[in-house]
């Protein structure tokens, strides 16, 4: 690190390594093996520029997961996974692998890209701890708690899960034991794992076929309030080898952004950060102030908007689009909320309703408009994606192929839906609260590191809760139905902006070209909604849901301002559904009927599928498990997609 600012930083970093990167005995052995890394071509190790022919416009959504953990993550290993990055990549590419608990598994359709996001704190530490001789842990580290964890990890998978739950709680509460370790050796080990990882990524990165992006998870968790970010790089390993993962436990987000800026300055590369599941941040993810409670400065807002163009709004640990308390008029607002609304990650601090606004994406977008009105810069201009946050090395987002949040609730644990779940918590949450996980869709011109990253950077991305529906929105002025019948993609790009874009207010109501196609191998669509957020004349934040197009519009007439429910074909006894309701494609041109000149506003699209079985119902049928009444009531849901917003910028 060259910046003077980093002198203090380095001290924090060292301390962290000292604290978390416990046993480093294996570091030497690992380092010795990695000297003879196999070489790969420049095509594979670079950022993909000039390697494939690019389409004129982004021609299809590329599907990926930006949030997957392998056995290099402290908690994933502790929870039991023994699959590493290589298996993770093979699985994401569509190949068959054997899960830790023994069964063979495969994706029904491969993914197009993957970011392995192992925790930067204590990278590989639990694995090293586990592999260390007991005398080393007992005597060299000399910490009763660490020794107890060590023994629990070796006792049984259940005890191992418990031990790591305690470790997470301790990290959340800021009292990880000051186990005695050599920080230099541990730092060396982290660097070594990172470099080994980069080599593996290059080997599986194949422009045009599959993109393996470098990244990690930065895990700040003050008092257990989740402020995690996934850090994702655009670059090939020539640049990413010049950095190491930045630890999160005792650093702050502005320090992370400084680190990112320094990386770009040093290497000429590009990097971004993705805040993830803000739903358990207890209002800290999207505050109206700086982290320390002081008024937000334009510099801070600009830095944040630059560093974090995208937010992960849906994943295994629930959905963060909005909460029924924040959006009382949104009848679809309750998805993936149960269990996660109770408190922070380890449930050490209960959530009170005043915290919700800082924990959900829609309210954050609204807060952004207010902050922009106050200081001229909007810190919360983000697009939306979904991912898994799976800790099994298996990027599964499909309901009928849910491999669990971690190895302790893989399919081998057939009653996992009913069980209380103890991720550092002792009460309140159950297996069925987990979602099966989501995916990120990136509208790119080709499948390379550079193209996928750039789609994220310009927010031309969207979130789904797992299904691969194709959703497109262009914003502009004066779009008509005739535009949809012609070469509408060209029209959208030339006369308007795609999702993630910004429109300058021209005194007319904006109009939108909107198309949504069902997942070609999935369920039909119920409806397409536009969600508008704006500041009214008195500066108050407002939101409105517009049903803009839905299936069977002739027979499903709006009544009392509401579109009637699409119906429900799910058979609870065998976890099947029929595609004889809903639509295969919904498209429309929509003009904002409530536009007022000078309004600051954003618009995004939410697409709903017809009701389908959740993973819990598939489990119940497959394993003959009887779901609890609560779990059964939640065993069918309407999967969905959220696009990134288009902003209407006021000229003032």
């Amino acid at each position: 690190m060259v910046d003077e600012k980093y002198a203090g930083q380095e001290k924090i970093v060292r301390q962290l390594w000292k604290t978390l990167s416990v046993a480093s005995v294996l570091a030497v052995a690992v380092a010795a093996c990695s000297e003879s890394e196999p070489t790969v071509s420049e095509t594979q190790s670079g950022d993909g520029t000039d390697t494939v022919e690019l389409a004129e416009f982004p021609d299809r959504p590329y599907w990926g997961d930006t949030h997957l953990h392998t056995d290099n993550s402290v908690d994933a290993f502790g929870f039991g996974t023994r699959l590493g990055p290589e298996e993770a990549l093979r699985f994401a590419r569509g190949e068959k692998v054997t899960a830790t608990t023994g069964a063979e598994t495969q994706l029904s359709r491969p993914l197009d890209f993957l970011v392995i996001a192992d925790h930067s704190d204590g990278l590989g530490a639990t694995r090293r701890l586990y592999d260390a001789p007991r005398w080393y842990v007992n005597w060299v580290m000399g910490d009763e708690t660490v020794l107890r964890w060590y023994d629990m990890m070796h006792e049984s998978p259940e005890q191992s899960t418990k031990a790591v739950g305690e470790l997470i709680s301790a990290a959340a509460e800021g009292n990880v034991p000051e186990a005695f370790a050599d920080p230099e050796a541990a730092a060396e080990a982290t660097k070594d794992i990172w470099n080994t990882q980069l080599s593996i990524l290059d080997r599986y990165n194949e422009p045009g076929v599959f993109t393996a992006l470098a990244g990690y998870e930065w895990t700040a968790m003050p008092n257990g309030n989740n402020l995690h970010r996934v850090v994702m790089f655009r670059d090939g390993s020539d640049k990413t080898r010049q950095t190491v993962p930045f630890p999160g436990i005792s650093t702050t987000a502005p320090q992370l952004w400084e680190y990112m800026r320094a990386y770009e300055k040093e290497t000429g590369g590009r990097v971004l950060a993705i805040p993830h599941n803000p739903n358990v941040s207890n209002g800290l993810m999207f505050q109206m102030t700086m982290e320390d409670g002081s008024p937000m400065t334009p510099e801070y807002a600009a830095l944040r908007a630059w560093a974090e163009p995208v937010v992960e709004v849906t994943q295994i640990k629930g959905d963060s689009e909005t909460h029924p308390y924040l959006s009382p008029n949104d009848e679809m607002a309750g998805f993936g909320v149960k269990g996660w609304e109770l408190g922070n990650l380890p449930l050490t601090e209960k959530t009170v309703p005043s915290m919700y606004a800082g924990s959900y994406a829609r309210s954050a977008l609204l807060r952004g408009l207010t902050l922009e009105a106050q200081m001229g810069v909007n810190p919360y201009t983000f697009g939306m994606i979904g991912s898994t946050d799976s800790h099994t090395s298996l990027a599964t987002g499909d309901e009928d192929n849910f491999w669990g949040k971690h190895t302790g609730n893989e399919q081998a644990y057939t009653d996992r839906a009913n069980k209380g779940q103890n991720l550092g918590t002792r009460e309140g949450r159950f297996g069925w609260h987990y979602l099966a996980g989501g995916y990120a869709a990136a509208w790119a011109r080709g499948n390379t590191r550079a193209e996928i990253f750039d789609a994220f950077a310009r927010r031309e991305v969207y979130a789904t809760t797992g299904p691969r529906m194709t959703v497109r929105i262009f914003g502009g002025f004066g779009f008509t139905e005739a535009d949809l019948d012609g070469d509408w993609v060209r029209t959208g790009y030339t006369r308007g902006v795609p999702m993630g874009g910004e429109l300058d207010d021209q005194g007319d109501a904006p109009s939108f070209l909107i198309t949504a196609m069902k997942d070609p191998d999935g369920a039909n669509l119920d409806r397409v909604q536009v969600i508008k957020g704006w500041l009214d004349a008195s500066g108050q934040m407002q939101e409105q849901i517009y049903d803009v197009v839905w299936s069977d519009m002739d027979s499903r007439r709006r009544s009392g301002g509401r579109v009637p429910a699409v119906g429900d074909t799910v058979n609870r006894d065998d976890a099947t559904y029929s595609n004889n309701i809903g639509a295969t494609e919904l498209r429309t041109v929509w003009t904002d009927p409530n536009y007022r000149p000078g309004q600051r506003a954003f618009y995004y699209v939410r697409v709903l599928e017809i009701p389908t079985p959740r993973w819990t119902l598939f489990d119940a049928v497959r394993f003959g498990v009887k779901l609890s009444d609560e779990a059964m009531a939640d065993a069918v849901a309407q999967e969905r997609a959220y696009t990134s917003p288009i902003w209407l910028q006021s000229k003032s």
């Binding site: 594979q44 299809r60 194709t470 997942d519 070609p520 295969t584």
Partner: protein, 266 residues
């Protein structure tokens, strides 16, 4: 680092490993024999403990630290032997599995970082044609026009009447030299299986079903490149490595197993 061929043989690894183990276990004349009640910490043991400390800590231990390390060594040795005496290693499934995976790991370690030569990869390709049977299809590129109908009957009527224009859809009417995987991502699995069996030509064919409905298709071109070594090289190397790891585990096991007489009462 390129090792000679013999150095990569699992058998050699096991002999070396076995020799190392033997030396380690007999060094100083105190094998960890659970039956023995003698724990000897002589000059050589002390040296080993000090070395281990130095390796980990980057400096030599002080006298006090060394004494502590020796006490810890003795404690572990006592408890370890008592555990063996109690047969805990045999009854504990976790310990057994852990040992098994350690053995597997040592057998596969070398393969994980080995760099295969072109010769090796070509041979691998030749020996495993089934792994790449679909490579040509998956990587074939197609150009086609399609028109969409929500019912099969309408599509058939359109095909027979020659009025091929379908219903309005956001699916592209034409696809130009696009990889089958990209076609599958947009049109789904059913459509791709249907498309795979069509012969290219100027005529409209079908209807092919998809998740959306029914499609008439004019498959203008299908370019299926025979698997080309250079383009497959990366995939081959990854697959070879995985196969190596698996084979090494199996062969290492075979070597060990051959030393046992297995008597199964079936």
């Amino acid at each position: 680092m390129n090792l000679p061929g013999w150095a990569r043989e699992p058998l050699v690894h096991f002999i070396v490993l076995g020799a190392a183990l033997y030396v380690a276990l007999t060094w100083g004349g105190s094998p960890p024999d659970p039956a023995s009640r003698v724990i000897k910490v002589g000059a050589s043991e002390k040296e080993k403990i000090a070395e281990s400390w130095t390796l980990t800590m980057g400096r030599s231990p002080t006298d006090a630290e060394l004494d502590q390390a020796i006490d810890a060594y003795v404690r572990e040795e006592v408890l370890y032997r008592e555990a063996l005496r109690l047969g805990l290693d045999e009854s504990d499934a976790i310990v057994r599995r852990r040992l098994v995976s350690k053995m597997d790991f040592s057998a596969s370690l070398a393969a994980e970082t080995a760099e295969p030569s072109e010769e090796v990869l070509r041979a691998f390709l030749k020996e495993n044609p089934e792994l790449y049977a679909d490579y040509g299809t998956e990587n074939s590129r197609v150009s086609f026009d399609q028109s969409f109908f929500s019912s099969e009957a309408e599509a058939r009527v359109a095909l027979s009447s020659g009025a091929n224009a379908g219903e309005a859809t956001s699916l592209p009417a034409s696809i130009e030299t696009t990889a089958m995987r990209d076609v599958e991502a947009r049109f789904g699995q059913d459509f791709v299986s249907g498309l795979n069996v069509l012969e290219p030509g100027d005529d409209w064919q079908g209807p092919l079903p998809s998740g959306f409905g029914w499609h008439l298709v004019r498959l203008r071109e299908r370019a299926t490149e025979p698997p080309d070594f250079e383009s497959m090289r990366g995939a081959l190397a990854n697959d070879w490595r995985n196969a190596q790891i698996k084979t090494r585990k199996e062969r290492a096991y075979e070597v060990l197993r051959s030393a046992y007489r297995i008597d199964i009462d079936r």
